[in-house]
Symmetry: C2
Subunit: 373 residues, 2 copies
């Protein structure tokens, strides 16, 4: 294997594929990137037990030649070392030449590295061909979908299915749901497709994948029984799916409410993050006490003391109501909505309540209150 390649494009691809390399792996071969030069360009693959990322550096990008002097072949090079070496090289082009299948000569005309490498056939065969149902959408839409839902997934492994982001496509919409059972976040996206599927993507992988998207790219999802493929730009990401039935969430989300509080999102966030300093040792519990002419946010703790403040800008409809909750859940939810104002809708003191963007009904953030003093 032999090529001369644009440094910036090469670094981008090895960095992307490197995201899939686990820092500790029982199988040392998996700490390598696989580099394969073929008719499509140089395909760079990194993989761990949960996901595989393959980024391809093409021969040309528009008018620009990216790869010169190609000699087909494949090799395995330590991901961390290769990435650091290429990152610190100063030339704009890098030549890579694999000698005797055991040494990769990397040269930018200034620095010359000979990195030990391994034979490509020691790497597992990873099939990244699209299979199953396919759905095409703008990357930007999928970013919104994940950002407004995935944060609510569980980080604990007791119920593995709750560590997933549930995707459900059908009837022209794609719905993403995450819940750790104390809160739930759901985002609905209108899609130009009648495809139907359901799958549970590890929420952490969903959040990682969206960081690899380039601007204005389109995304194709390919969903089969055990895995999902994300195809975008010159990159393919394969993720395992979480098995198990995702809880039916429709019945959980209340539809009618008795109390409505509309507030400036930033004012609510600032007040809650201040007041909850007091209850940091008690799951950041704060109490929201609402009546038509006053909204108070307060917290108490035996060790720290107490805090209270009143919102300046709000509109409240309903009888006087006090609700206590983990303020981090409400902070996450309000941040995810990314709106200027938010509306909080309640049924009763101890019933789950909803945070929404008043101008966008497609995001629902549900939070279960807590019992307090």
């Amino acid at each position: 294997m032999r090529l001369t390649v644009d440094k910036e494009q090469f670094l981008k691809a090895i960095s992307a594929a490197g995201h899939a390399i686990a820092s500790k792996t029982p199988n040392p071969i998996m700490s390598n990137l696989k580099l394969e030069l073929n008719e499509r360009g140089v395909e760079i693959t990194g993989s761990n037990a949960d996901m595989t990322i393959r980024a391809t550096v093409p021969y040309r990008l528009g008018e620009r030649e990216i790869i010169r002097s190609p000699g087909y072949g494949a090799t395995l090079i330590n991901a961390h070392l290769l990435t650091e070496v290429v990152r610190r090289m100063e030339g704009t082009e890098i030549s890579l030449d694999v000698i005797d299948e055991s040494i990769a000569k990397i040269d930018d005309g200034r620095s010359s590295f000979k990195l030990n490498c391994a034979k490509a056939d020691e790497y597992p065969d990873i099939d990244l061909e699209p299979t199953g149902v396919a759905l095409d959408l703008p990357c930007a839409d999928f970013i919104t979908l994940v950002e407004q839902s995935a944060f609510a997934a569980s980080t604990k492994e007791q119920r593995p299915v709750l560590t997933a982001l549930n995707l459900e496509a059908g009837n022209g919409s794609l719905v993403a749901t995450a819940t750790d059972s104390a809160r739930l976040a759901q985002k609905t996206l209108a899609i130009d497709s009648e495809e139907r599927f359901r799958c549970n993507i590890p929420a952490k992988i969903a959040s990682d994948v969206i960081r690899l998207f380039g601007p204005d790219e389109r995304l194709t999802l390919s969903v089969s029984e055990n895995r999902i493929l994300f195809v975008f730009g010159n990159t393919v990401v394969a993720s395992r799916l979480v098995s198990g039935d995702y809880p039916v969430t429709k019945a959980i989300i209340p539809q009618t409410f008795n109390y409505y509080l509309e507030v400036n999102a930033q004012e609510l966030l600032s007040a809650m993050s201040r007041v909850s300093l007091i209850s940091a040792e008690k799951e950041f519990v704060v109490k929201l006490t609402m009546q038509s002419d006053d909204v108070e946010i307060s917290a108490k703790s035996e060790s720290a003391g107490s805090a209270s403040e009143h919102l300046h800008i709000f509109s409240y409809t309903g009888e006087r109501l006090s609700v206590s909750f983990n303020s981090l859940f409400v902070i996450d939810a309000v941040r995810a909505l990314k709106s200027e104002d938010v509306i909080l809708q309640f049924q009763a003191e101890m019933k789950p309540f909803v945070a929404k963007n008043p101008k966008d009904p497609t995001s629902i953030e549900l939070i279960t209150p807590m019992r307090t003093y």
Copy 2:
């Protein structure tokens, strides 16, 4: 105790004093800041086993009133909680009122906190009155002194005296020396004083203290047998001294050399940090091979491979010479010199060598070579 205080000045003072609070302390009372309002202003003290910081917020700064409505007194408040609460408050003024010696009411007109506090007399008496020899110099000079020396101190506790920065004043100069026995850094400062003293300051504390200095401030050092005081702006820092005789370093620093390499500092740093990627597992050893028409930096490792590059801009005087060393030591030394070019001076392959700024003889960085392949 009662006062209304400018938020920004108060936050600056509690943040400064908070630097002395250890994250874990066997004595819970020491996780508090002591606040004492007296005729000088509000004195805020934080302390751990090694150092004490007292920052004073004065009644006035020039024309500006900083403290209003004072009622003398003292209290102890949890440092972390107080700092976070004040940091997040939005008002420009904060009122603090201690009730029954057990609750500190903190209010900015918007948020209202009642923080549990403790009686001031539970705090140890810490004497911060200057004693011993005094030396006055610009803070900026002391920053240079520490930055060009303290990094070479040992971080291991086997020989406690090597964890210190040695200061020696006399004959119109102040010399700072640090060594971990594999390298040494020494900076000499001309001072306008005939005072004489020697002391060993914990190097970490020296590096921490200089971050508290304000622009254009002057520093007074007060050195007595067991402690040093740093007095600057409205702040006093007391540090314990490390006991034990500091090694005599004069004999270690070579005075005559046989080989001289002058290079661009940035080119040397880039090349060494690249090449040493190969030997990360072997103490980042690199080999510098110099002759009149070529300077090569190279590294080898059984597991990773090898690397080599040649410097473009250099001037070398002497026979051909190869020297191997821990590149991190040379990188630290060259960075500390902060000069455009550096000169490396050698006696022989296995003798300690010196890195210097060719335009400034007051900094000496000494590095012991390593034996390699």
